[in-house]
């Protein structure tokens, strides 16, 4: 939101034409759903969906010190990146709390693209600018971002690009190629638990790309399905499941925290927490029946407080009521039987290993 008004992506008119139900999210007016969350969810699990996620903030980090800056800013290690490789990483404050979670794409040693959450745009920008010597450019409204997700994504994209995507591994990207005749960067990344791509292209040239994708059979999907898909895939949502007071170790993101031989903002606090242990841990929950746990629902074990739900939904593909919850560490082990209080009614649940679903890994169903 800028000057109290919701921002719109260049595809706003397309969303209205598709009769999307629009919703305010992170300062943007975005499609919540078109045909329906369940149908859109299914499209992504079985074929291919497209999402306008241009509301995500995008920053260029440029200059000879770009890598050095990021090495001091990120919990994950940017020095592991090759040109054309992407990294998921927490951005931490001195206390180890998460300022945001980011996807960082290395174009070259002196040029990186950072993608963050829409609602954190101003915070991220201020944080990056105050802690980096490099040039930090807000490219949020210069680059449209489309997610093309689902098992048929590669086949959908094939006729629209000149490069061969079949050999592109996950977390790799093709910089500055073209899609449907429009300059585009194509990254094999996503937030759905499926194979898929994220496509960056110039802000004012999005319509032909969107139209070509739709004509190729991709189903328009909104933020509603994006949320149910990410939850089944066990991905957290910043602002909902974690915030500035959550460390990546508490968020179940230990795998993204590279402490060995490194010093970055928050590393001392995180090193300390590795020694002393976490105060709580984000875990997966599966509830009995079809009652859905919502954010804030208390989690109990043998009648005593064990945590609280941070996100909950019906898992349309695994067909189970699932949730993420912040748990006391002694109750966070998979297999722990707990109770979730939904509308003052106790619903039996179990702590489970994440993800609930990933292509080829249907743990829960």
């Amino acid at each position: 939101m800028r000057d109290g008004r919701l921002s719109r992506t260049p595809l706003y008119a397309h969303h209205l034409r598709l009769q999307a139900r629009m919703v305010a999210f992170g300062g943007w007016e975005m499609p919540l759903q078109y045909r329906g969350i369940l149908a859109e969810h299914r499209a992504v699990r079985t074929s291919c969906g497209i999402f306008d996620i241009s509301h995500l903030s995008k920053f260029w980090i440029r200059g000879p010190k770009a890598l050095e800056d990021l090495d001091r800013l990120l919990a994950n290690d940017p020095r592991r990146l090759l040109d054309g490789q992407a990294l998921y990483t927490p951005l931490c404050n001195e206390a180890g709390g998460m300022v945001d979670d980011l996807l960082v794409l290395r174009f070259s040693e002196d040029r990186f693209l950072v993608v963050g959450n829409a609602a954190r745009r101003e915070v991220d920008l201020a944080w990056l600018r105050s802690h980096a010597a490099s040039e930090v450019v807000d490219a949020t409204e210069e680059l449209v971002l489309l997610a093309v997700q689902g098992p048929a994504s590669e086949a959908v994209l094939r006729p629209l690009v000149k490069v061969d995507l079949s050999g592109l591994p996950r977390h790799r990207f093709v910089p500055e190629t073209a899609m449907a005749g429009v300059p585009a960067t194509v990254s094999r990344t996503g937030y759905t638990g499926e194979d898929g791509f994220e496509v960056f292209c110039p802000w004012d040239r999005a319509p032909p790309v969107w139209e070509a994708l739709q004509e190729a059979g991709a189903v328009p999907c909104g933020l509603g399905a994006r949320d149910t898909l990410r939850l089944e895939a066990g991905y957290l949502l910043y602002g909902q499941d974690v915030d500035e007071h959550t460390t990546p170790l508490e968020a179940g993101l230990s795998w993204t925290v590279k402490l060995q031989g490194r010093r970055f903002i928050g590393s001392e606090a995180l090193r300390e927490q590795v020694k002393t242990g976490v105060r709580r841990r984000l875990g997966g929950l599966v509830l009995e029946g079809r009652t859905i746990a919502r954010r804030g629902c208390p989690i109990l074990r043998d009648g005593a407080p064990a945590g609280a739900v941070t996100s909950g939904t019906w898992g349309p593909w695994i067909e189970r009521s699932l949730a993420l919850g912040s748990l006391l560490p002694e109750h966070a082990e998979p297999g722990t039987p707990v109770t979730v209080r939904v509308r003052d009614r106790p619903v039996p649940a179990e702590v489970v290993a994440l993800p609930f679903y990933r292509r080829g890994v249907e743990r829960v169903r």
Binding site: Q33, G224, I292, W314
Partner: protein, 132 residues
């Protein structure tokens, strides 16, 4: 073509909370309106009372859950539940597909049928949802 024709059947009474009620002899059948069902769209669970339970005029008798939110269901009449739509346990989508038919929720034996006069008729409900 007016796609909204038939969306608010003439023979029903309505609550401002979007439940409908239809008298069937001594019993009253209850569901939610197409207007409400369209707005919920992705119904995944309907929590209904046990048969035999008393429900009270304009008080919650159950909950309908869509993917995004839970909403209370309000009883249009005071009475005893004599039947619940068991199909909704496994097919909650019936609420969206056929809100005035297969998607009904409970059957009540009303104790005070005069409460019916305090509900909206079709014209008033249409005005309530801005389609009158």
């Amino acid at each position: 073509m007016n796609a909204e024709v038939g969306v608010v059947p003439e023979d029903l009474r309505y609550t401002t909370e979007h439940e409908w009620v239809r008298l069937e002899g001594n019993w009253a059948r209850v569901g939610i309106t197409k207007f409400a069902a369209d707005r919920l769209s992705d119904v995944v669970y309907v929590e209904l009372p046990e048969v035999g339970r008393e429900v009270r005029f304009l008080e919650p008798f159950g909950v309908i859950e869509s993917v995004k939110a839970a909403s209370d269901l309000y009883a249009p009449l005071t009475g005893r539940v004599v039947e619940v739509n068991e199909r909704l346990r496994s097919e909650p989508e019936l609420v969206t597909q056929d809100p005035y038919g297969e998607g009904w929720m409970i059957l009540i034996e009303p104790t005070d049928p005069s409460e019916l006069d305090r509900l909206l008729d079709a014209a008033a409900y249409r005005r309530h949802i801005g389609e009158g």
